[in-house]
């Protein structure tokens, strides 16, 4: 069979569509297959629409604290349906943008669901077309970017039904505002929904199996985050094992065990946010190496099957859009024969709750566990001029240095818009900055970013404003 395309990308999420654009830029004839909507989960049911909801929540929450700024409103209220509509509209706008990008880069979009069959020089892609019928495409290379979906836990009844037991997807477009929620899992997804629904007044309880919330974050951030969310009225059950999720007449009951004591939490709705399951079913048929549902890949996303690459959620954690995009670019360049220089970027993680949490690199505990002689620094926003002026004094910046080499190896932040600040430290770590650089760099005044400077200074006993 003739090869119509140089590259076929399966899945048009942030990994797939970016890989397709890069492949096209490199002169490769490219097609992309999407079974649902261009932009994937990220644009349609994840990153982007949640940010729209959270902004509504944040503004509404701010309205109740206007007095502090010398402002007042008569009686703040919201229209839940309009909030959801706005979020859906934002998703739609972004998805349409991807359609434009595909056209601009002359990437053929094939709507339908793909299956892989044995083929040469790469697996054959058989697409069950949305419009009916099927199409078989033989390309020179295939990039699998099929993504992931929410994970259910059938053993304890935590299986989404779209009515009372939700996944993120249901939580993004509910028919009505729930009065109360139990959120299982305190990762980024769980915490963002908890924050949003709490901002609009719902009773929210977050259940976390580990002994602290947001377990991937630095322990100090976890602690500060829990305090900040509790201040806003969210309740937590940490170190809590969920034993049963049951639907009741009015909602759900969630049985948990905390420190050996059993407790039943009731709410109108339960959100299951305990991780994801990769969309990789049926791939063993072509002899693909898999590890717990994820495709095993090499440095450039290449798999053990000739001509097949895998990127993004399908290829393993961290399950983040920017990690998928990065891998997509890398795979496309590898296909084009590039020897990509070793840009060794760490992958930042962001949670857009109120307050926000952002981090990159190693936590202090992880660094110590790795035997590194750690130098850590901290700086609270409550003594940062810009934060005080803006009335956003919650949170802090923490830096983690390798005491032996002076290399910045981790940074952790909680506070207002810290997700925009973390990039400074991502750049610093990628360029292998040392404390000398971070101490010498000029930070604009007044900015909340000055706390980054201070946290770097603090690690070496040179903090200026405490």
């Amino acid at each position: 069979m003739s090869t119509e395309f140089d590259v076929v990308v399966i899945g048009a999420g942030p990994g797939g569509y970016v890989a397709a654009i890069r492949a096209s830029q490199l002169g490769l004839k490219t097609a992309i297959i999407e079974r649902e909507a261009l932009g994937g989960i990220c644009l349609n049911w994840g990153c982007i629409p949640t940010k729209a909801l959270l902004k509504s929540g944040e503004i509404f929450e701010q309205l109740s604290h206007l007095g502090g700024y010398g402002l007042s409103v008569e009686k703040a209220s919201f229209d839940f349906a309009k909030i959801i509509d706005r979020s859906r509209g934002v998703a739609k706008t972004m998805s349409n943008g991807i359609a434009f990008l595909m056209k601009k880069h002359k990437i053929e979009v094939v709507e339908g669901e793909a299956k892989l069959e044995k083929g040469s020089p790469s697996p054959k892609v058989v697409v069950a077309l949305k419009a009916g019928g099927s199409r078989t495409i033989q390309a020179k290379s295939v990039i699998l970017a099929s993504g992931a979906r929410a994970r259910d836990i059938p053993a304890i009844g935590a299986v989404s039904d779209g009515d009372k037991i939700w996944t993120y997807r249901d939580a993004l477009a509910p028919k009505a505002m729930p009065k109360s929620l139990v959120v299982i899992g305190s990762g980024a997804i769980g915490i963002e929904f908890a924050s949003f629904y709490r901002a609009l007044g719902a009773e929210v309880t977050v259940v976390e199996a580990v002994d602290r919330i947001m377990p991937v974050e630095d322990a100090e951030v976890s602690k500060a985050a829990q305090k900040a969310f509790e201040k806003r009225g969210i309740t937590f059950r940490i170190g809590a094992k969920v034993t049963k999720v049951e639907k009741t007449k009015d909602g759900v009951s969630v049985a948990v065990e905390v420190g050996g004591k059993a407790e039943t939490l009731t709410a109108a709705v339960c959100i299951v946010a305990v991780g994801i399951a990769p969309n990789t079913e049926g791939l063993d048929a072509i002899g693909l190496n898999m590890d717990r549902g994820h495709v095993v890949t090499g440095k450039h996303g290449e798999t053990n099957v000739p001509g097949l690459y895998a990127i993004g959620d399908a290829a393993g954690p961290p399950w983040l859009a920017h990690k998928a995009s990065h891998e997509g670019i890398h795979a496309a360049e590898h296909i084009a024969g590039y020897k990509t220089p070793a840009v060794n970027s760490p992958i930042p993680g962001c949670t857009y709750a109120n307050p926000q949490v952002a981090s990159v690199g190693l936590t202090e505990a992880a660094a110590k566990a790795a035997g590194i002689d750690v130098k850590a620094g901290r700086f609270p926003f409550k003594v940062n001029g810009k934060a005080v002026a803006a009335g956003e004094t919650e949170g802090f910046v923490k830096t983690v240095f390798d005491g032996k080499t002076g290399a910045l190896i981790g940074a952790h932040m909680i506070g207002h818009e810290v997700t925009e600040m973390i990039q400074g430290f991502v750049t610093a770590i990628t360029l292998e900055a040392t404390e000398e650089d971070l101490h010498g760099i000029v930070y604009a005044h007044p900015t909340m970013s000055e706390a980054m400077h201070e946290a770097a200074l603090d690690a070496y006993g040179r903090v200026l404003h405490i």
Binding site: L26, G27, H334, I335, A336, G337, T340, P341, V343, E432
Partner: protein
């Protein structure tokens, strides 16, 4: 079709140079042999001649550009009978770059065949691309960043490269120091140089002359040599009355043939003959062993505008005085106009430096690496000497041999001077 004009290599080892000057501009008609540009390396300036006939279509590297790689495209020539293509817009080279990186769609790129952009680029000039952390780690480990291949963007040396180099045993920051002597890693630290202001000389109280390539080379090579080569001087006095008489006679006899031999020419000849008799003094130290040179290639220090240069009389032991004299004259004249080819001043085995004409009595030169010794020749002057227990007057010249102790021990140096002295004092023996 236009013809590419590439950056020429002035010597087999040249990797890059400065495009000093263009003698043509876009639109000029040139014929083969016309000088179109001047290329400068740290020691020489060379004229670039047109090989083909045509009209200069584009000049792609501006005059004054440093570190132009050999074989880089520097200009385009429209062939004879063709009208030149419209001059490319200013950003044309920039635009060309991304186009070059995109393999053609039709030619499906095999994963290994396509270009490796930037990654392979070697660091250029003195500046080494390296991350701050890589710099610190290399410095702590005493590794030379320049010797570490960089795997980062644009060949930047990153942490992983330094770590790999540390395991793989890359050259330390300095050339191999004295045999057997310990080379502490700390010695690799570059010397901290205070600014003039820090040393109490206020800005504005002096004019700053920029460092040119030659000055930088002199500074670097002689600093390295003086610091790293264990050197010592040996001094002897030579009576040169017989030599002066012989010289006068030779010049008188051969006047008609245009021969005019200098004292220095005779010294060069005598040095070459002495080196053949004491070959241990005609040697270079290398970490692998001592290189015993087969010929006496004598480098002659010539002061030129802005510095000095050491053109070489090759295999001087095989040449007669007239030939040596003629060669030195030619080399010195071309050195002064910076027209020497690199192979004419690189690679001597022994140096002679003469400051006699300035009335300098005695001095000790710095070893011209990798040579084993350098002879410093002072002024010939009448001095009282004791002969057979009586005071007499003789024309005496003091010469000093600076030796690299790694190859030329004191006894070898003395042996060489013992062979050299009679050749000067009784120049007739040069014939034997």
């Amino acid at each position: 079709m236009s013809i590419d004009i590439l950056m020429p290599a002035l010597s087999p080892t040249m990797e890059e140079g400065t495009l000093a000057k263009w003698h043509v501009k876009v639109g000029d008609t040139v014929k083969a042999g016309d000088v179109i540009a001047e290329i400068e390396t740290d020691k020489a300036t060379m004229e670039v001649e047109a090989v083909d006939e045509g009209v200069i279509e584009a000049i792609l590297v501006e005059a004054g550009t440093e570190n132009v790689k050999v074989n880089a495209l520097i200009a385009k020539l429209a062939g004879e009978g063709e009208s030149p293509a419209p001059p490319p817009s200013k950003d044309a080279p920039a635009k060309a770059a991304p186009a070059a990186e995109a393999p053609k769609a039709a030619a499906a790129p095999a994963p290994t065949a396509a270009p490796a952009p930037a990654a392979a680029a070697a660091p250029t000039g003195d500046r080494v691309l390296a991350s701050p952390l890589a710099r610190r780690l290399a410095s702590a480990a005493g590794l030379d960043l320049k010797a570490i291949p960089g795997s980062g963007p644009h060949g930047r040396v990153v942490k992983a490269d330094v770590e790999a180099a540390g395991k793989g045993g890359v050259a330390t920051s300095k050339a191999a120091p004295a045999a057997g002597a310990s080379a502490p890693a700390a010695a690799a630290e570059p010397r901290k140089v205070l600014s003039l202001e820090q040393m109490g000389i206020p800005a504005g109280s002096y004019d700053l002359v920029p460092l040119d390539g030659m000055r930088k080379t002199i500074a670097r090579r002689l600093t390295d040599s003086f610091r790293d080569v264990p050197h010592f001087p040996l001094t002897i006095d030579l009576e040169i009355d017989a030599l002066l008489a012989a010289r006068a006679k030779i010049n008188h006899l051969l006047e008609g043939q245009g021969v005019k031999v200098s004292v220095n020419d005779i010294i060069i000849k005598a040095v070459a003959v002495a080196l053949k008799r004491v070959p241990e003094a005609n040697a270079s130290y290398t970490p692998e062993g001592i290189a015993m040179h087969k010929h006496a290639d004598i480098a002659v220090a010539v002061a030129i505008d802005g510095g000095l240069i050491t053109p070489i009389v090759r295999a001087a032991e095989t040449k007669g005085l007239a030939q040596i004299s003629a060669e030195v004259k030619d080399l010195a004249a071309r050195a002064k106009t910076k027209k020497l080819k690199p192979e004419e001043f690189q690679g001597g085995t022994f140096s002679v430096s003469n400051l006699g004409m300035f009335g300098i009595k005695a001095f000790a030169s710095i070893i011209n690496e990798p040579q084993g010794a350098i002879m410093s020749v002072g002024a010939g002057e009448q001095r009282p000497v004791v002969k057979n227990g009586e005071l007499a007057v003789a024309t005496v010249m003091t010469i000093t041999l600076t030796c690299d102790h790694r190859v030329v021990d004191g006894a070898i140096g003395a042996k060489f001077l013992a062979a050299f002295k009679p050749l000067i004092e009784e120049p007739l023996t040069l014939l034997v």
